[in-house]
């Protein structure tokens, strides 16, 4: 019984982390689906979202506003606005001029952008990690104290519900709205979509903005969950999210969700049953294995090489 509860505890922790990975992974997978490049700076955009949220929360606290819904809402809106603007600007400055050149050129440009943004925040806000207030505290426990209690905190529930809402909204947006249809058209055939009168530049910008907004949501949620932020906070999370995107099949949005959840669970099982230090090894190992044996991922479509 105790073993089973322990297992469920790890499962819940894993699903929480995994759903935020899924939120970040959307940004990778949408950009890859449309222009076929890895947006290496996406993890940094997520980190900037977390910082902006923290700045907004601290600013509100200075003004004396502490009513939770207002604080969360304002922090969320600020983070989304700043991150989306950043996503837009990054695409405009670093990716649009090199679009369509040799595959490595946009990737190197993206790595440069990632280093630049990391150091931009590092220089402006210092390199030390800063405490993030736990706005949503408490939780409830299942099971009695003498065996292993299964605890679920409110923040975990918040993370899960928020992710669910974001994903549903995104799916509806992609499936129903005019821009969403255009997104799908562009990802199928950029040239043809542009011939049919779709402003592809606008759609590509929109993709970056949507991805960045979701990353900002993840930034706020994970900031509260982990309790601190630092400028390097985005790098590893970005890699994990990329792994999640590849795991689910890059270019596929449901795949990113599935990949995020699987990766989160795999990680928390590793820290629960082996050792916390090796959880990164497991996720990178998983990435390598997937790329070797099933490069299209779980839900991805095989890519046909055209000559």
């Amino acid at each position: 019984m105790q073993d089973l509860l322990y297992f469920f505890q790890q499962l819940i922790n894993g699903l929480t982390i995994g759903s935020t990975y899924a939120l970040i992974a959307i940004g990778y997978t949408m950009v890859y689906g449309i222009i076929g490049m890895i947006n290496f700076a996406h993890g940094e955009i997520y980190m900037i979202g977390a910082y902006t949220a923290l700045i907004a929360i601290t600013g509100l606290a200075t003004l004396g506003i502490t009513w939770l819904p207002i604080v969360l809402l304002v922090a969320l809106i600020c983070a989304v606005i700043v991150s989306s603007s950043m996503g837009w600007a990054v695409e405009r400055v670093a990716y649009r001029p090199v679009r369509g050149r040799h595959r490595l050129i946009p990737l190197i440009s993206a790595i440069g952008m990632s280093i630049f943004l990391q150091n931009y925040v590092h220089l402006a806000q210092g390199s030390r990690n800063i405490g993030f207030p736990a706005l949503i505290e408490g939780g409830f426990q299942l099971g009695s104290e003498d065996t292993f209690p299964l605890s679920i905190s409110y923040i975990q529930i918040t993370i899960f519900i928020t992710t669910l809402i974001c994903m549903t909204a995104l799916s509806t947006f992609i499936a129903r709205s005019r821009t969403g249809r255009a997104c799908r058209a562009v990802s199928q055939d950029l040239g043809m979509a542009s011939l049919l009168g779709i402003d592809t530049n606008r759609i590509i910008s929109a993709t970056f903005v949507i991805g960045a907004a979701l990353a900002a949501v993840a930034g706020l949620l994970l900031g509260m969950y982990y309790g601190s932020v630092d400028p390097l906070f985005g790098f590893i999370a970005g890699l994990k999210a990329f792994t999640a995107a590849v795991l689910g099949g890059i270019g596929s949005i449901p795949g990113a969700m599935l990949g995020g959840l699987i990766l989160g669970v795999a990680e928390s099982m590793t820290s629960g049953y082996l050792s916390g230090e090796y959880k990164d090894v497991v996720s990178f190992g998983l990435l390598i294995l997937i790329l070797l044996f099933k490069p299209t991922g779980l839900l991805g479509k095989p890519e046909v090489e055209k000559i």
């Binding site: 700045i55 600013g59 990737l107 220089l123 230090e277 090894v281 070797l292």
Partner: protein
């Protein structure tokens, strides 16, 4: 059109404000557990607004400015000139290179110890960059975990000296070969992947190696690293004041000169110089050999190269292995120079710096890469007060290079034979 322009310019200016003001203008200060906000200096705030104004004006008069910029490149007196004849150029190049090497041989005897130490570091980076140049520049395989092979070389030497008492000269080939073996073993399954996937997998591999080094405390000492790595000896002569190992003699006693701590530094520098020159020469040979041509062919057009009968795996694997070999080489020298290594020296940033060197110098061009390695290592030392901005500038430079000059500052010139003019 004009109204449209103003709207766009305003939008860009607002975006500039949004992305820079919250991060630059409002600083989070942690005082114990309490976090509060602090406004930035007036200078920063004014700069942020000035930047927004500049962006607004630039976007407003974008077309005009771009037209002017095109004019500037025409002002360059060298742009219209014919390139130097191939033979003359090759001759000039080899003379200049020989001159530089001779100069580099005698230079350490006249300068301070600190600069020789820095120069040794530059040479290590040159070795690393030349090796990565084969992988990224010539073969077109983006390797983001290059530092892993560097770590393999360094740790091989450190562990062999600690557990088996190996000297530098015995460990040097072993370290390099072991790194090459790692390259081979990793490369074999991975090289089938397309460019960007390869980059991520190598990055993951680099991180895995670092995490293992950090956590395998019994063997590697974990985050504490390994110390007491011996310095190289010259035919059994040690450079310390006292002899550490049985059977060795000491350099200053054998030659009958007074002991000076500079000897050791200069000797290390000379070893690094010789190894860097060897690295350069070997890779230069490779570039002219069929395998070097095959690397480039595969980089340019994989399908065409394969249809001409090149084996994709063999060609890519050779580039990967050779790159790893020289990283191991550099790692051994690095371990010997520092005398102490820990996983902290082998983070992703290190890979990124070496990649930046290759990209800035011009992918595939040896001279460009060497000059870039010198510049990238020495400039931050010269401008110490700006050293915080080093990585910021690197990142920006990488983006700008890709946008404006993806071939690098000194792009590679293909070695070719010209046909004589007909008639």
């Amino acid at each position: 059109m004009a109204a449209n322009n103003i709207k766009h310019a305003l939008f860009c200016a607002v975006i500039t404000l949004v992305i820079s003001y919250p991060i630059l203008g409002l600083n989070l200060v942690a005082d114990g557990a309490v976090v509060y906000l602090e406004g930035a200096t007036t200078f920063t705030v004014v700069s942020v607004f000035l930047a927004a104004v500049v962006v607004f004006l630039f976007q407003l008069f974008r077309d005009d400015i771009m037209a002017r910029l095109g004019f500037i490149s025409r002002l360059n007196p060298l742009s219209g000139r014919d390139p130097m004849p191939q033979q003359k150029r090759a001759k000039l190049e080899s003379w200049v290179l020989t001159g530089i090497i001779v100069l580099a041989l005698f230079w350490p005897f006249f300068v301070s110890r600190g600069s020789v130490d820095l120069a040794t570091l530059v040479l290590i980076y040159i070795m690393l960059a030349l090796g990565l140049n084969v992988v990224v520049g010539l073969a077109g395989l983006l390797d983001l975990g290059y530092v892993a092979f560097y770590a393999v070389g360094a740790y091989t030497f450190a562990l062999l000296s600690q557990y088996a008492g190996f000297s530098f000269w015995m460990a040097l080939p072993i370290g390099a070969c072991l790194a090459a073996l790692f390259g081979l073993v990793l490369g074999f399954p991975v090289l089938r992947l397309r460019g960007d996937y390869l980059a991520i997998v190598t990055l993951g591999f680099g991180e895995i190696i670092r995490i293992l080094l950090n956590n395998w405390t019994n063997l590697t000492g974990g985050p504490n690293g390994i110390g007491g790595i011996p310095e190289p000896t010259l035919f059994g002569m040690e450079f310390g004041r006292r002899i550490k190992e049985e059977g060795n003699t000491s350099f200053h006693e054998t030659l009958g000169i007074a002991y000076a701590s500079e000897h050791k530094v200069i000797f290390l520098y000379l070893i690094a110089l010789v190894l860097a020159v060897i690295t350069g020469l070997i890779i230069r040979r490779f570039m002219r050999m069929p395998v070097g041509r095959a690397w480039e062919a595969l980089r340019e057009d994989e399908i065409a190269a394969r249809s001409l009968g090149l084996s994709r795996t063999a060609v890519k694997l050779s580039a990967f292995t050779i790159g790893a070999f020289f990283a191991g080489f550099a790692g051994t020298v690095f371990a010997s120079k520092q005398g102490f290594i820990s996983p902290e020296s082998f983070v992703f940033l290190e890979s990124a710096i070496v990649l930046a060197i290759v990209v800035l110098g011009g992918m595939g061009s040896q001279i460009g890469v060497i000059l870039a390695a010198i510049a990238v290592t020495i400039l931050p030392e010269l401008a110490r007060e700006f050293s915080d901005y080093r990585m910021l500038v690197f990142g920006a430079a990488m983006v700008l290079m890709m946008v404006w000059r993806p071939q690098g500052l000194l792009p590679m010139r293909r070695i070719h034979i010209e046909l004589g003019k007909q008639g």
